[in-house]
């Protein structure tokens, strides 16, 4: 029981740190001159695995491709 509580508290602390940093990152605005470069880097079109005939490289598109193949 004690071991389980230790495990839960360690994981809880790490998850809290993660949520905290995520919140902090969301609150911090991207500098205006970097916004375009940021969106370009994060966009699916920057990836060479991107297919022109699909709207994105998301999960739904992957499922659609699999369905089409079947």
């Amino acid at each position: 029981m004690e071991q389980f509580l230790i495990l839960l508290s360690v994981l809880g602390v790490i998850i809290l740190i993660y949520v905290g940093t995520m919140y902090l990152n969301d609150k911090t605005e991207i500098p205006e001159e970097c916004r375009e470069a940021y969106l370009e880097a994060q966009g699916c079109k920057s990836c060479s695995a991107f297919r022109k005939d699909s709207s994105s490289c998301g999960f739904k598109d992957a499922l659609k491709i699999m369905e089409d193949k079947q």
Partner: protein, 192 residues
Amino acid sequence: MEYLAILIGAMFINNIVLMQFLGLCSFFGISTKMKPVVGMGLAVIVVMVLSVAITFPLYKFVLVGLQITYIDTIAFILVIASLVQLTEVVIKRFSKGLYKALGIYLPLIATNCAVLGVALQNVGDIANTNYLSALTYALGSGMGYAFIIIVFAAIRLRLNSANVPRALKGMPIAFVTAGLMALAFMGLSGLI
């Protein structure tokens, strides 16, 4: 001398991409242009060193001490993701130039298995690994990733203007090229 051997070994002999097949998604995904590749390479070096700087003592003093080493993978994933977010915040606030060069690639690195792989490898033999050698290994692995992805991008740029058979255009020729590069790097296995 020992640290130099670790550095060269991590960079060329046990290259994280070509020998261990980690970080392949970004390796193939963004290696079509030179500019993002340099930024991504630099960002991977920074994040790899920082993540090992945190995960190594976390494992040694917290997880081993509390006998919960079996949660190392999930703990490291969360720590690396937090670290990436924190690094992004700091770079966003204090250096716009640096943010433009490598900060925009940081979110992509949070899910890069090469970073997690290096962190886990360093704690695999914790009894015989010290902090400095772990950091050197992380630096070497990051530099190896950056070196390989830059070389690969340069080759792919040249392939764009080469007369490649239609069936091999795009990803197929990229896979063939990566395979040939991996074979070439296997020749370095007896270097140290």
